[in-house]
C-alpha cells in the first residue's frame, strides 16, 4: 500500500517542521525531496498520508522520530582538507599570529570550533594543520589548542569519534605523508592517532540552539551547511558566531558560501585566491 501523494498544504506544514527542527529551508521545487525522503518514515509509522504523519510528529514529544526526520533530510558528505584554502589560511595567516600571542603570554589557549563536523574530516584536518605547524614552530605545542567539533547527527558524531576510515574515505583529499604520520593502518581500516584525537572534543549540537554555552572561540569553521539554511537563519547563526568570537577572531566558510547581504559583523580578507572573515565586534 502506497501513501497518498503529498498535498501543497502538507508540504508547507512539513517544510516548516523541517526548518524548525534543523534550519534546512526548502523551496516549493523541493516537494519531491520531502516526499521521497520522508515516505519511508510514513510507512514505518503506519501513516496513510503526509497529513497523518505531520499530526503524529506534532503529538510525539520524543526526539527519536524528529532525529530520523533530520537524518533523512541532511547529507554528511565531507572530505579531508576540503577546498584546501582554509587550511593554508590557517597555517600561513592565523596560526603565526596566535602562536606569537601564545609565546608572549597574552593568550594561554586557542579554541577552534568546527560547527558542522559530520564524520570528522574537517576537525581532524584542522588538528593536522596545527600539528604540522607546531613541528616547524617548537615554541608552540598542540596541547595549547582545543578543537570543539559538533554536529546535529548522532551517527555522524559516532563515526567521527571512532576516527576510523576505509580506503575510499581516507583517499579523498588526504596527502599520503600526512596519512602516514597521523593514522595507523590495520587491514583496510585507517585510524586517527591518539595525539590527534586528544586535540578534538566531539559533542552533539544543533546550530539552532543558544551558542553562548559553548564558550569563546578564536576561529570558527562553518562550512557546507549554511547553504541549506534560510537567510534569516543564516543571519542568526553568523550573528551568534560574531558574539562568540574573541575580538578579531576569524570565521571560515566554504568556497560556495558568502556573507554578502547577510552579516555586517565581519570583514572579508583574502589570502591567495581564498578568503576568510575577521570579526569586527569588540
Amino acid at each position: 500500500m502506497m501513501a497518498d501523494a503529498i498535498s501543497a498544504t502538507e508540504f508547507r506544514l512539513l517544510r516548516d517542521l523541517i526548518e524548525r527542527l534543523c534550519g534546512i529551508a526548502l523551496g516549493d521545487e523541493k516537494t519531491y525531496l520531502v516526499e521521497t525522503r520522508l515516505a519511508p518514515l510514513l510507512a514505518e509509522n503506519g501513516c496513510q498520508d503526509f497529513g497523518a504523519f505531520y499530526r503524529l510528529v506534532s503529538s510525539d514529544p520524543s526526539p527519536q522520530l524528529r532525529d530520523k526526520i533530520v537524518d533523512a533530510m541532511t547529507t554528511n558528505e565531507t572530505l579531508w582538507f576540503r577546498d584546501t584554502h582554509p587550511f593554508s589560511i590557517l597555517r600561513d595567516r592565523l596560526l603565526p599570529q596566535l602562536a606569537a600571542d601564545l609565546s608572549q603570554g597574552s593568550r594561554f589557549r586557542i579554541r577552534i570550533w568546527s560547527a558542522a563536523s559530520s564524520t570528522g574530516q574537517e576537525p581532524y584536518s584542522i588538528a593536522m594543520t596545527i600539528h604540522e605547524f607546531c613541528r616547524s614552530n617548537p615554541a608552540v605545542r598542540p596541547d595549547q589548542f582545543e578543537i570543539l567539533a559538533t554536529d546535529i547527527s548522532p551517527s555522524a558524531l559516532f563515526v567521527a569519534k571512532l576516527g576510523r576510515y576505509d580506503q575510499a574515505a581516507i583517499a579523498r583529499g588526504l596527502p599520503e605523508p600526512l596519512r602516514d604520520r597521523y593514522f595507523h593502518q590495520e587491514g583496510h581500516v585507517w585510524t586517527v592517532n591518539d595525539e590527534l584525537k586528544r586535540m578534538v572534543t566531539f559533542r552533539k549540537f544543533n546550530l539552532q540552539d543558544p551558542m553562548e554555552a559553548l564558550g569563546r572561540f578564536d576561529i570558527v569553521f562553518l562550512r557546507y551547511v549554511a547553504i541549506y539554511f534560510s537567510d534569516g537563519f543564516k543571519r542568526q547563526i553568523y550573528g551568534g558566531i560574531a558574539r562568540l568570537l574573541a575580538p578579531e577572531g576569524h570565521l571560515i566558510i566554504s568556497a560556495v558560501e558568502s556573507l554578502r547581504g547577510i552579516s555586517e559583523d565581519f570583514q572579508q580578507l583574502t589570502h591567495g585566491s581564498g578568503s576568510y572573515y575577521q570579526c569586527q565586534l569588540s
Partner: protein, 125 residues
C-alpha cells in the same frame, strides 16, 4: 563479535560495504544472492547485528528475502537495511512496512553509507 551481513549480487558493492562495516568495528559476512543469504543467516543468526539487503538481485530479490526473515519467529528480530535505487523508492515503502529499519539509495557517498549503517546498527553519540 557482532557481524553485519551484506547480500548483494555485485562483488564490488559487497567489498565497499565490507570495508565500511570493518571501520565501524563489526565483523562481516557476505552472500551473493537471496538463497545464499538465508543459508548464512540460518547458520549465524545469533551473531548477526544487521543485514544489508540489495533490492535488485536475480532469482530471489531483496523483498522476498525480507519477507522470509520477517515471517520467521526467530529471524524477524534481526534489523534489515535496504539498498536500493531512486527508481525503487515506491517499493521501499513496502519494505519499511514489512519491517526494514532503514534504506539507502544508490549511488551514495562513502560518508553517507557509513552514517546510515551506524544509524541502522543503533550506534549514536
Amino acid at each position: 563479535m557482532k557481524k553485519v551481513l551484506s547480500v548483494d549480487d555485485s562483488g564490488v558493492m559487497r567489498r565497499i560495504i565490507g570495508r565500511t562495516v570493518e571501520v565501524l568495528g563489526y565483523g562481516f559476512l557476505e552472500a551473493a544472492n537471496g538463497v545464499e543469504a538465508l543459508e548464512v543467516i540460518a547458520r549465524n543468526h545469533e551473531e548477526i547485528a544487521l543485514v544489508i539487503l540489495d533490492v535488485n538481485m536475480p532469482e530471489m530479490n531483496g523483498f522476498e528475502v525480507l519477507s522470509r526473515l520477517k515471517a520467521d519467529p526467530v529471524l524477524k528480530a534481526i534489523p534489515v537495511m535496504m539498498l536500493t535505487t531512486e527508481a525503487d523508492r515506491p517499493r521501499i515503502i513496502q519494505a519499511i512496512q514489512a519491517g526494514a529499519v532503514n534504506y539507502l539509495c544508490k549511488p551514495f557517498q562513502a560518508d553517507d553509507l557509513t552514517v546510515k549503517i551506524a544509524e541502522s546498527l543503533g550506534e549514536g553519540f
